[in-house]
């Protein structure tokens, strides 16, 4: 069961398992990191860069640099995990039927795992052929 407490001390008491407590802590830590990563990401691509000029070459040039690969991989991994766990909280609240909840989760977790694979592949395993 998801933790509903608003305090760490209470969350520790309420946590049904250690794992549930770790997820609670993870949401806070990844959240703080993501705020900065995403503000930077959006500022760079929408303010410093003209959105309409973003094309294959721009993406390829940026992703040819290791720093941006790591930056984007962090967003991908933390964002998907943070989002998946948030979605789990929502589904636990909204989908009351146990078997329907199980299958909804199974489908969504698979989708997220697939997207992580797809995103990592396009970040690392693809030769963009940049000069």
């Amino acid at each position: 069961m998801a933790i509903r407490s608003k305090r760490y001390q209470e969350a520790r008491l309420e946590a049904s398992t250690n794992l549930e407590l770790y997820w609670w802590v993870f949401m806070r830590i990844s959240g703080v990191v993501l705020v900065f990563l995403l503000l930077g990401h959006m500022w760079m691509n929408a303010i410093l860069m003209d959105l309409n000029k973003i094309d294959y070459d721009y993406v390829a040039k940026r992703l040819s640099q290791t720093t941006w690969k790591i930056y984007d991989l962090l967003i991908l991994a933390l964002g998907l995990l943070h989002g998946a766990n948030g979605l789990r909280y929502v589904l636990d609240d909204w989908v009351r039927n146990p078997s329907r909840r199980f299958w909804t989760k199974a489908v969504l977790y698979s989708l997220i795992a697939f997207l992580f694979l797809l995103g990592s592949l396009s970040l690392f395993n693809h030769d963009f052929g940049v000069n």
Binding site: R28, G31, V32, M42, D55, L80, L118
Partner: protein, 121 residues
């Protein structure tokens, strides 16, 4: 947890924006990964997403990210300080002040682009 009013709105908006961001992230990863099929496919898809309607969507998304982020920081303050819960309502208005400050540049840049009729080539 909350009894109506601001706290309840903060909670609903947090969930709604969170779900919206997750849906966007999925589309975004799919879009970027199209580069693996070569420049032609990738550029065609990006040009498709440069249409004004998607830029409006992007404005909504950026609003969602900024709100979700700052409200998340508010939640963290409530979790880890002794005074956070007492001032949750004031903190929520603080979130909106920060929201306006950070959202304005995006609104001007992207909104201006839409009004100026810019959509790629």
């Amino acid at each position: 947890m909350y009894r109506g009013r601001e706290g309840q709105w903060a909670f609903y908006l947090h969930r709604l924006s969170g779900l919206g961001i997750l849906v966007f992230l999925m589309l975004h990863v799919a879009n970027i990964s199209s580069a693996m099929w070569g420049p032609e496919v990738s550029n065609a898809l990006m040009k498709f997403y440069h249409q004004p309607v998607f830029q409006l969507g992007l404005l909504l998304l950026i609003a969602g990210v900024i709100y979700h982020g700052f409200n998340g920081l508010r939640i963290i303050l409530m979790d880890f300080t002794s005074w956070g819960v007492r001032y949750q309502r004031q903190l929520w208005y603080g979130v909106w002040v920060l929201f306006v400050v950070f959202y304005l540049p995006f609104l001007v840049k992207i909104g201006g682009g839409i009004l100026g009729g810019s959509h790629g080539d």
